[in-house]
Symmetry: C2
Subunit: 313 residues, 2 copies
């Protein structure tokens, strides 16, 4: 079981690659490098275009899906040394329907083959029977190593994910404090018994994960804690000793290395940080290199900044 323990594998990859970077795969057609779109017009992709039409996916959606496929393959091949995991934001694939779903599955498979851990960023939450179908979809069928989930339904709505943690070593990151501006509206409400809603969710995450520790001391049930709220983040790190953090908000959403250092433990581990747009579309601010190299350089800078600020290098 230990060699299948998601958090052990994640934190071991951090040491091997000397990287705490997760690259977010949020493909957005309007932001793709022009070279990717141009490449799909060429004769070498004629077969891919025909395949798409055979799938009945509609020509325009399938053309976009083929662009995503080409783009994400390039990103994955370029970032192997820089990132330990990929976080696939399923919304961007859903927006292309069945054609997008096929690319979501293929990209997850390719990422695993290239040595990344795969986090399906689906933020699902529902009643138990429905949650079972979601867990089957993303952890079994797509084969993701970990998944993000929403806590609003409480324990029974998350149990199908937790069971796959206990039985198969899958990782589950529960939304605790999100990175967006409106996160305070619900998450920061003060409770009659003291503390805030997100702190109570944090305590639930702590209860849910008990007994899932790996060799490195960290559990399979983790927390999503946005990098844009350093003060709340510091308190959460102190409160959740063995809980791994998945930290969004770096880069395009404004968080820098100094903002997220508080989310690591005293040894500079226990957290990984996600950046999507700033890495994927780095070609815009690095016109002197090709889009793959631009993404690699951006990820490399982030990797070095995090390693330094956490006192590792």
């Amino acid at each position: 079981m230990s060699d299948r323990h998601f958090t052990d594998r994640l934190l071991e990859a951090v040491e091997t690659k000397r990287s705490q970077v997760v690259v977010g795969l949020d493909p957005d057609y309007a932001s793709l490098p022009p070279q990717v779109i141009a490449a799909l017009e060429g004769p070498e992709f004629a077969e891919e275009r025909v395949l798409g039409e055979g799938r009945g996916c509609g020509q325009e959606l399938e053309r976009k899906a083929a662009c995503y496929r080409l783009f994400l393959r390039g990103i994955l091949e370029a970032l192997q040394e820089e990132a330990v995991a990929v976080k696939l934001q399923v919304a961007y694939f859903e927006a292309l329907g069945a054609a997008g779903w096929a690319v979501y599955e293929e990209t997850a498979r390719l990422a695993r083959e290239l040595g990344y851990l795969v986090i399906a960023d689906v933020k699902r939450g529902d009643i138990g029977s429905t949650a079972e179908a979601y867990a089957a979809a993303h952890l079994d069928h797509v084969g993701a190593d970990a998944v993000t989930v929403n806590p609003y339904f409480g324990t029974d709505g998350l149990e199908p994910f937790f069971r796959r943690a206990r039985e198969q070593g899958k990782g589950v990151f529960v939304l605790v404090k999100t990175s967006n501006p409106s996160s305070a509206e619900l998450q920061d409400l003060e409770l009659a018994g003291g503390g805030r809603v997100y702190e109570r969710v944090a305590d639930l995450v702590s209860e849910w994960g008990r007994g899932t520790e790996g060799r490195l001391g960290y559990r399979l049930i983790g927390a999503v804690v946005g990098g844009t709220h350093p003060e709340e983040g510091s308190r959460l790190r102190a409160r959740l000793e063995r809980v791994p953090f998945l930290v969004p908000g770096y880069g395009a959403q404004g968080a820098r290395a100094e903002d997220v250092v508080c989310l690591f433990d005293a040894r500079g581990t226990g957290a990984v940080v996600n950046s999507a747009r700033a890495i994927l579309y780095a070609y815009r601010k690095r016109p002197e290199v090709n889009w793959r190299e631009a993404a690699r350089q951006e990820a490399r800078e982030m990797k070095d900044a995090l390693w330094r600020v956490t006192g590792r290098g």
Copy 2:
């Protein structure tokens, strides 16, 4: 705009069909009538099987997807007089990957053609840019008339859905108090300022929907309120005067007509009630008729029970 106002259309359909029933489309392979699975083995579906393989979806998943297609078509054709809307539970389609996604889209299209309102039960919630992709997927591309969403991110994570309500008359049902046993863990937490978390969410729903009233007085921003908590439901009905309710929990989850009557307004309107498993798989308890007729009879009983208990007939 008025003829595109989701809630007007929903409540008009209630009067026309004399039904407050929403049929939940939660296809589960293990529960399908044996006749549906047998039918797919026959020569008349050879073309459908080949089409599935051409899509590259994997033979087993595509076979299940073809079963769902056949089953859901039968259900939709049987229930036109009994149900005003369908609620597609996307989790069950996701569990079949791209093949399932294609059936999700086709079923939504067929339901519209047969005169049902279409509610995409996706319970999505994320940061604004991601929520935009989800809204595009389900409201634009799939073309659902309404969608369910999760409030944990707060306003900015829901704005892409609300914009489509204001501009296109789409409906948005926000999770307020869910039907599952663990719903109290987070939703019932008592707040320092008085009231509970779900009541604060209810107040947000009220703020979010202001100005979206239709001719019948009800708004486009509605609330999901489980039928399994009559006491909380009564208080929510009083608190949310112009907010339409989508009520899950009827049938298989245990709620009966007497339990949900408190979720309707004084005129016996303003809410619709969903039942999935009890209708879809009614063939098990009605072996004397075929599976389509069994579903129709079950929906008809529910329709009559609701109409009676709300003082309409």
